[in-house]
């Protein structure tokens, strides 16, 4: 078997034990490739555990800039004996295995169609370090050093990154650099370097930033003017609230008094989280929570109240695998229906679908304007793949001529001037009523907020016609929302086609690559990335303009497809589901394979049946 030869286009996977300090070393590796101008897309594959269980870090190196998961492994850095057999199986024929050769392993433990590279990492560490923790931590840096030699990565880039990380902490800086050099020197002296996989300096990263979606969404909340955050720890959303806290400490402190222009409450549960958000938003503050599917399940009663009483709320849902506890540390897009129709009775909620961290920032900030304008709950539908992984994306940008849109808020001056106020009155014909903040005016504008039925002036009423009047206005408001939410993104293929594909959220990275691959095979498909629910008219037009439309999703039940069928009255036969839901991020290989197979099948003329 000929060893794989590839420059700037391969996959390295690190198999580690969690709690061993591998994460920062692996990130260091990924960033060093990026610093050489070659795009990488790393993904953490981790268990719901703190210490002792297997964890993987998969780095795709792609000069072409493909950021989706590729599938397959060209170089396995096998540091976990527990998963040795499984890890070995994953290596592509002709691929490479890098492992700790301190303890000899029988030949039966290897494969003969791969290149095996052993380095006695434990032995080197035991000779160099006395402290047990140091032996563990520096082992990781030593293999990064070795990889720099094996893959021809500029060691100065790694040293530079270590320098940035330990700026002002000389005590940590020096031993890290030493470990790096140790590993590199050992590899150069004893192994034929570089191997068939190589990193070559390029200029394909540019101004882009390398950020996880949870941090970007938190920054969206900072720039979007959020002042109240209430949350409950829940993987994979936890780091979003923590990032908000971290950024607020630097960006939201009154320079004169040192006091905070924000309030963050770690609530007792998700019910309290959304209750605090609703209370704060009712009282005129921009408020949000971050959660995942199980949290949304708990919040649904309150979400119905917010829908019916028309109170703004922003919910970042970093989706994970369900149902129930499901796949708590894996990715899915399986809360689409649960969020779109959250709560009992007739409810519909606004959903936004960011494709990457940059859009987590943009749509995260936009969610606050939409929530205030409509006033209603708005979900930002992220997922673990873009939420917890660092993704190369365009730098964050802000239009400084923009002002927060606080929606239709009636002020004391307006009330004083005699403006008619009905909390649920459709004053402008767009279905959106005015609201007042508590404490606005001594005699005018006060009203009672409740989950029970009420008339246009917020007066309790159980009369059928009054109820229907209000429910119809809520529909009119939802129709207005359709015009306010972010438009879908259309990508026409090179040639006219009768086939289309609809996708959303984190699937975008794999989809871009899949479309290019399909085009390479002469298969032309127009593509539309849906960015919001309610669906803009363009979505219905796109479906009407194609004979068959694939709907690519990361869930079992084709949830967006159901929503399209249901909300746009589409013939279900027209929408073909392409579903990937094993908890790993969807790949271009999967999408292109499925679409190509279905189109091939559709083009085959049925053969005459031959007798039995």
């Amino acid at each position: 078997m000929k060893p794989i030869e590839a420059v700037n286009d391969f996959v390295v996977k690190f198999a580690n034990v969690n709690g061993s300090g591998s994460a920062s070393a692996n990130t260091l590796f990924a960033r060093s490739v990026q610093r050489m101008g070659v795009p990488v897309s790393p993904r953490n594959i981790f268990p719901s555990n703190i210490q002792g269980l297997p964890t993987w870090y998969e780095v795709r190196v792609s000069e072409a800039g493909w950021l989706g998961r590729r599938g397959g492994v060209d170089l396995m850095v096998a540091m976990n004996p527990q998963t040795w057999d499984q890890d070995l199986q994953e290596i592509e024929p002709g691929g490479y295995l890098f492992y700790d050769s301190t303890k000899p392993l029988p030949k039966s433990k290897f494969r003969d169609d791969i290149t095996v590279i052993g380095m006695p990492l434990t032995e080197i560490c035991n000779e160099t370090y006395v402290d047990a923790r140091e032996r563990q931590l520096f082992k990781n840096i030593i293999y990064v050093g070795a990889l720099s030699a094996l893959l021809d990565i500029d060691p100065n880039e790694i040293a530079q990154l270590i320098g940035e990380q330990y700026k002002g902490k000389e005590k940590l800086l020096k031993p890290n650099i030493h470990a790096l050099q140790l590993g590199r020197a050992h590899a150069l002296a004893r192994i034929a370097c570089p191997i068939g996989l190589r990193v070559r300096r390029a200029d394909r990263v540019g101004e882009r930033i390398f950020i996880d979606g949870n941090s970007a969404a938190a920054l969206g909340a900072v720039w979007g003017g959020a002042t109240v955050c209430a949350w409950y720890p829940l993987t994979p959303s936890t780091s979003l609230a923590e990032a908000f806290a971290r950024h607020c400490r630097r960006l939201r402190v009154d320079p004169d008094t040192g006091a905070n222009r924000y309030a963050i409450v770690q609530a007792e549960d998700e019910l309290a989280s959304i209750g605090i958000v609703i209370g704060a938003a009712w009282n005129g503050a921009r408020a949000f929570t971050a959660t995942s599917g199980p949290g949304v399940s708990l919040m649904t009663e309150f979400l119905g109240l917010a829908y019916f009483a028309e109170i703004p709320a922003v919910i970042f849902n970093v989706q994970r695998g369900g149902p129930s506890t499901g796949l708590p540390t894996r990715t899915q897009q399986a809360d689409v229906l649960a969020c779109a129709y959250a709560s009992h009775g007739d409810t519909k909620h606004v959903l936004l679908f960011p494709e990457d961290p940059r859009e987590c920032f943009d749509l995260g900030a936009a969610a606050f304007d939409l929530a205030d304008r409509l006033p209603t709950p708005v979900f930002v539908m992220m997922d673990l793949d873009i939420g917890m992984n660092e993704v190369l994306c365009e730098p964050l940008a802000w239009d400084y001529s923009r002002r927060m849109d606080r929606g239709k808020v009636m002020t004391a001056e307006m009330l004083e001037a005699g403006r008619e106020f009905g909390r649920y009155l459709d004053a402008d014909g767009d279905g959106i009523p005015y609201r007042t903040y508590p404490g606005t005016h001594p005699l005018r504008g006060a009203y009672f907020t409740r989950g029970t039925t009420k008339d246009r002036y917020a007066r309790y009423s159980e009369d059928g016609p009054v109820y229907v009047d209000n429910m119809e206005r809520l529909l009119a408001k939802f129709a207005t929302a359709k015009r306010l939410v972010p438009k879908p993104v259309l990508r026409r293929c090179a040639k006219p086609t009768r086939s289309g594909v609809i996708y959303y959220g984190s699937t975008a990275a794999a989809m871009a690559e899949a479309l290019a691959a399909l085009e390479g095979q002469g298969i032309h498909v127009d593509a539309m990335r849906v960015r919001a629910f309610p669906f803009a008219d363009e979505v219905a037009d796109f479906i009407a303009g194609h004979e068959a439309v694939f709907v690519v999703e990361q869930n079992r039940d084709a949830q967006l497809r159901t929503l399209l069928v249901n909300e746009l009255a589409i013939d279900p036969a027209k929408l073909q589901p392409v579903l990937h839901y094993d908890g790993t991020p969807i790949t271009a290989r999967f999408i292109a394979g499925r679409i190509a197979a279905r189109l091939a099948l559709a083009n085959v003329k049925p053969l005459k049946k031959v007798g039995p």
């Binding site: 930033i209 006091a259 222009r261 009282n283 009672f448 309790y460 159980e462």
Partner: protein, 351 residues
């Protein structure tokens, strides 16, 4: 018709407060609760307390959950914003509201069904989080709106109207509030307005988590012999440990009291609360002693009422979070949106 506006009749002889408002200006719509319901007396006490303290009605936000008690905010302070939220969740909504605007007064009204069962967790966390609010539980030991089931505060051995005996231990919300760190804790009785109005006033002036458990008999389902929350039973077993008086700072104390029986606590706005001790062995400023005292008297079958604990210098959630003095809901783009240099620094940090 399910909504009754109260007729705005003009009574020229009604007294006005410092703001020029009469007591009527603090009322809401006509109550739809049963005639004789203890809750209506509590609404009246809230009206009286706000009127006497010269509180601007629109500077109060009234919040509640679900149940008979939670309906009452409609019946007082008609010019205040109200929020009838979901069952047992008033505390979280009040917490959020209090975070958004620290300048208003937050008055949460709940019941034993709302706060001692589904809402017990939110009640507990609201108290321990020191939300600056008045939290009143209108406690009748029974589910009224669903017609007479025991609530979690019903005493063990007390009888329902249909004759069933409650076998479960009761939840004592006063003990919980004390244990959880509430800084103003009182128990009142809806049948004793002279005691209740000053307790509500004291709670309204308190700048921290203020809790009042008000025993409020349900005339429809829990006012019969065998109930421990009936008017008769509570009157017989009520042991008031003290009485509150309010003293404007300009007035001198003229009444004569025996030494050691009167204590004055000056509130943040200069109003003094005068505490007249009725039981010389009770100290309302000692949390642990109060808890011991309450346990002892409860074992003896007494219902202890009055101001049970007050921390004169409370700390609230805003202080703990070190939030700015300006209400968060008043901050604009200038204060909230970081500038272009900050954005560039953020981008650089992720390269």
């Amino acid at each position: 018709m399910t909504y009754l506006a109260k007729p705005q009749l003009h009574y020229p002889a009604l007294p006005v407060n410092r703001l020029g408002y009469t007591r009527r200006d603090y009322e809401g719509s006509v109550s739809t609760l049963c005639a004789g319901c203890g809750h209506d007396s509590i609404s009246a006490a809230i009206v009286q307390a706000c009127f006497e303290l010269d509180i601007e009605p629109h500077k109060v936000a009234k919040l509640s959950g679900i149940g008979c008690s939670s309906k009452t905010p409609t019946y007082f302070l008609g010019n205040s914003h109200g929020f009838n939220s979901v069952h047992g969740r008033m505390p979280s909504v009040a917490t959020g509201a209090a975070l958004a605007n620290r300048e208003l007064i937050y008055l949460g009204v709940s019941g034993d069904g709302d706060s001692a069962s589904i809402g017990l967790g939110q009640f507990a966390h609201c108290m321990r989080r020191a939300v600056n609010m008045v939290y009143i539980v209108e406690n009748n030991g029974v589910y009224g709106l669903t017609k007479g089931q025991f609530s979690a505060t019903a005493d063990k051995g007390s009888k329902s109207k249909r004759g069933a005996v409650n076998a479960d231990a009761p939840i004592d919300m006063v003990m919980l509030a004390l244990q959880l760190g509430a800084t103003f804790v009182a128990r009142g009785f809806s049948g004793d307005k002279t005691q209740l109005v000053p307790l509500v006033k004291g709670a309204l002036l308190h700048r921290g988590a203020a809790f009042i458990d008000v025993i409020s008999p349900c005339v429809a389902f829990n006012n019969h012999p065998g109930s421990t929350k009936s008017y008769d039973y509570v009157r017989e077993h009520n042991e008031a440990v003290n009485r509150l008086d309010f003293v404007s700072p300009r007035k001198e104390i003229t009444a004569e009291y025996a030494p050691g029986t009167v204590e004055e606590v000056v509130q943040h706005d200069g109003v003094a609360i005068r505490l007249r001790k009725l039981h010389s062995d009770f100290d309302a400023h000692n949390r642990i002693a109060a808890m011991n005292y309450l346990q002892e008297r409860a074992a003896a079958g007494e219902i202890v009422t009055g101001l049970l604990f007050e921390e004169p210098h409370p700390e609230d959630l805003h202080a703990r979070l070190n939030t700015v003095e300006v209400p968060l809901n008043r901050l604009g783009d200038g204060e909230l949106v970081p500038g272009p240099e900050a954005l560039e620094r953020v981008n650089d940090a992720y390269r």
